[in-house]
């Protein structure tokens, strides 16, 4: 906790993030390059054929989509309970990326669904849950934008994020239950053959590193913007 609070100071955060950012960016590029190379070198799956290639961009997008919401929830908790000052900024900064990757998961999922099921959307339980997650992101961002006072907006959004994170397991459970009731389909079933594991892990890591990199840059940007605002109002940077 002490460690976290030391970096709550924007100056310290800027220093630390500035130092690690180049490494994150480099690691991102390396992982994605290696993942893509391996991904296009694997043999076709005996069940899914060459569409297995979609595994490597669909699952990583989903992973980031969920991780981003988890990050927002954690930051919201820090904001409400421990009043960690930077966490509001961090939470708000993560949201657009979370929404983007959720949408990406849905699009790649639909494009995977067409060859698998014959139509783009069959209300597969996982995809349906992610559709609801997208709405959760949109609502979160809308709330931030709707409330004018920034402090109030931050706390309202934090409450919403925590209510959402508690609901997400329930939503997933209910959608799963719903899909078994109506006998839905599923893209990814069963285990993944080991030969696909490495490209998948590399892509997942690459996507997560990409999110982390972009997120850090957004937070730094927000800090700079606040400094600029303070300067314009005649205060210190």
């Amino acid at each position: 906790m002490q460690f976290l609070f030391r970096y709550a100071n924007p100056h310290n955060f800027m220093r630390l993030s500035g130092a690690v950012l180049p490494f994150f960016a480099l690691a991102t590029v390396l992982c994605l390059a290696a993942g893509l190379y391996l991904g296009f070198s694997v043999p076709p799956d005996y069940q899914q054929g060459t569409t297995i290639a979609l595994l490597f961009i669909h699952v990583p997008a989903d992973v980031v989509a969920e991780a981003a919401y988890g990050a927002i929830a954690l930051c919201s908790l820090l904001s409400l309970v421990w009043r960690h000052p930077l966490s509001d900024t961090a939470a708000r900064a993560a949201a657009p990326f979370g929404a983007l990757f959720t949408a990406l998961g849905l699009i790649t999922g639909a494009l995977w669904g067409k060859p698998m099921w014959g139509t783009y959307w069959v209300w597969d339980a996982r995809l349906t849950s992610f559709l609801l997650l997208l709405f959760l992101y949109l609502g979160y961002m809308a709330l931030w934008n709707a409330i004018e006072d920034e402090t109030r907006a931050a706390r309202a959004a934090a409450i919403l994020a925590l209510v959402g994170v508690v609901n997400i397991p329930i939503i997933k459970f209910s959608v799963d239950w719903w899909s078994t009731l109506h006998q839905g389909e599923s893209i990814i079933s069963g285990k993944i053959a080991p030969v696909y594991l490495w490209p998948l892990l590399l892509m997942m890591t690459g996507y997560m590193l990409l999110f982390a990199t972009l997120w850090l840059i957004r937070i730094r940007t927000a800090i700079m913007e606040r400094r600029a605002r303070n300067l314009m109002q005649g205060g210190p940077a």
């Binding site: 070198s41 060459t50 290639a53 790649t108 990409l210 840059i217 300067l231 314009m232 940077a237």
Partner: protein, 48 residues
């Protein structure tokens, strides 16, 4: 590396395309925002 996706290519390439577009777009947007903020701050600090 094999790029021949057979019949499924019509789904795979758009998916990779959209993903690449989204990732590149997000990166450009993020970096542009950073540059803008940095420039604005530099201009303000110069005034002081």
């Amino acid at each position: 590396m094999n790029f021949d996706m057979g019949a499924y290519g019509v789904y795979i390439w758009p998916a990779y395309g959209v993903s690449a577009l989204a990732i590149i777009g997000a990166t450009v947007w993020t970096v542009a925002g950073w540059r803008r903020a940095k420039a604005k701050l530099a201009a303000l600090e110069k005034k002081k």
